[in-house]
Symmetry: C2
Subunit: 399 residues, 2 copies
Amino acid sequence: MPEFAKRMKNMEKSAAVIAGLFQNGTDPDIISFGIGAPAREALPIDLVREIAADVFTDGKRGAEALQYAKPQGLQDLREVVAEQLLAPKGVPARAEDILIVSGGMECMNLICQVFIDPGDTILVEAPTFVHSVETFDMFQANCAAVETDEDGIVLEDLEEKIRRLHPKMVYVVPTFQNPSGKTLSLERRKRVAELGSQYDVVILEDDPYRDLRYSGEELPPIKSFDRTGHTVLANSFSKIFSPGSRLGYIYAAQDIIQKLLDAKSATNSHAPAISQVLCAEFFKRGYFESHLRRIREIHRERRDVMMECLEKFFPEGTKWVYPDGGLFTWVELPGNINTTELLKEAVAHKVSFVAGEGFFTEGGGKGQNCMRLGFSAVPPEKIRIGMERLGRLIQSKLG
Amino acid sequence: MPEFAKRMKNMEKSAAVIAGLFQNGTDPDIISFGIGAPAREALPIDLVREIAADVFTDGKRGAEALQYAKPQGLQDLREVVAEQLLAPKGVPARAEDILIVSGGMECMNLICQVFIDPGDTILVEAPTFVHSVETFDMFQANCAAVETDEDGIVLEDLEEKIRRLHPKMVYVVPTFQNPSGKTLSLERRKRVAELGSQYDVVILEDDPYRDLRYSGEELPPIKSFDRTGHTVLANSFSKIFSPGSRLGYIYAAQDIIQKLLDAKSATNSHAPAISQVLCAEFFKRGYFESHLRRIREIHRERRDVMMECLEKFFPEGTKWVYPDGGLFTWVELPGNINTTELLKEAVAHKVSFVAGEGFFTEGGGKGQNCMRLGFSAVPPEKIRIGMERLGRLIQSKLG
């Protein structure tokens, strides 16, 4: 057979990590803290049934849902994004500066299409979202890691690496980060935007978890501090409407949007029109606000139960992040426990998680005693059972 | 701002052609033969209403539609493809060798991700589907054109160019080709598959129109003659179910499917689950066969009316393709009429088409007196009006 393209070799490692994530929790008896999906109870099944009944009764709207659409996405969905999602966060966007894409991950893909040549450097957080690294690897970028602390990416290290490595792009998940659950502080948000402008670097702000806040105060996006168009805001409807709809959006300067349109057209023409119509109606009918209240409650309870269980079942010396929102917490175990090894035993004990080392691009043993625990997809009573199982197993390792 | 990636420069020309196609027919008074979409009357709005009502009443199926799915696509949709779409065409496929993608165009994107490095050569038909060329340009491939005649791609020229240019891939739309409406003969199908095996070249068979046949005998896919795994079959649900669902599929050898899975994951995780569930139900409930009969009738009538109008309204010396199916015919005008120039006047006369030269990758004035006429999206009575307008305009040019 003809050889595969070079990029396929380049992405083997991260693709294997991702493939591993998808294996997680296929056995229904395993309580899986490895899943990064919203609660099943948070899916708006009844609302979508009602909306679909109307959409497919209205010949015009039904045809819009089933026919080809334009590459940029439905006008009314882009207006909804501007009015209901961006304006309230201090980002006064125009509908023409928004591109609707086929799920949050596609933001990373399309922005790489537009900006990344093989060999370009992308700065990422340590730890970072491994699925995006898979995309960066496919584009043959060099990922270089920047330190993080409890307030997110460390500015001194970021600036030093921008100066030294001349990256094309900085990739940041500022709110309830995947995998750490950490949130970038207000001051740092401002400064990250400024660094992009100052050093002529694209800041890719990936912010899919921000609306799932359970405590603390809302923070404006990095994009709201951008004065030069260097920050590109990527977001997703997966957590606030439905992952299966495969919808997300990019808000960026008009010259970038124009290039993204070419890339979108050459990738898959346009985002699914069925999903776009259902999602636009969900917002236009005013369902978002009460739905968001409801799903925040569901997930807040799960976060609280998991925090309680960490306290109760995990050994002394364990450190963890208290996430003000999102789907994950990040746990650092005491002793010399290797979580990749631990996972095999955990699965035998019918509980699973994601081992920490896969989230560090630089390797070298970083994160080996860490794990990502996802609380969103597991009902509270099962969180208790699973955390007790996991805590006991860890306790047993410490003798 | 940071520079755009090199590929963006590379795709400027084809992206401009594509952007032009999307402009076509935004004025509702213009009768547009430029559209490459199925008839609005062919969209299964009522069936989808019924299916959606059931899916979103069943909590389990509803959750499946709204939650994350696996990168390869829903098991039952892949089984439907194998049983209802491939087996009847002499292609005994296993569900695990099928990847569900986000619309037919994404097949080209993902196959390029897996096989194409910058500078690789792709052989295409002359004329060829310009939207795919946009994708090939994004991957910085060199497109080289192969001659076609009334039976499709010319084998002698194909073999000569394979020997001389050492392409990585040959791109063929074998059935009711876009833009020409031509169909590759049985013998040539067989031989194209053999050439792929013989010279170790990927044959990308893009076959989205094949089920829309109105006359003549069905022909097996090139893939049915492939004995070595060199042929990759790309198809779409846009013409037989719904373009707005953004669903397509790739059937390929398992080692290629494995690489495509990595590329799919790094592109946009998975195809829209809402669409996948609705589409799987459409086939599982046995609606496909009668729906296909119905939409063939709708489009057959439009084809027949357009053929009749070409005879009646177009000047002597005009040549055109009698398409046995699909959405398009290809017209070659007599005299020295430049169709790109003609289009401007046609729009002023409230009728439009796609000028021929954009479909030839080699440029040099090829196709300047040709046009692609799409009959599928225009009701019969409007085809008559539009074709009379267009015929008169052309007659007036010939004096």
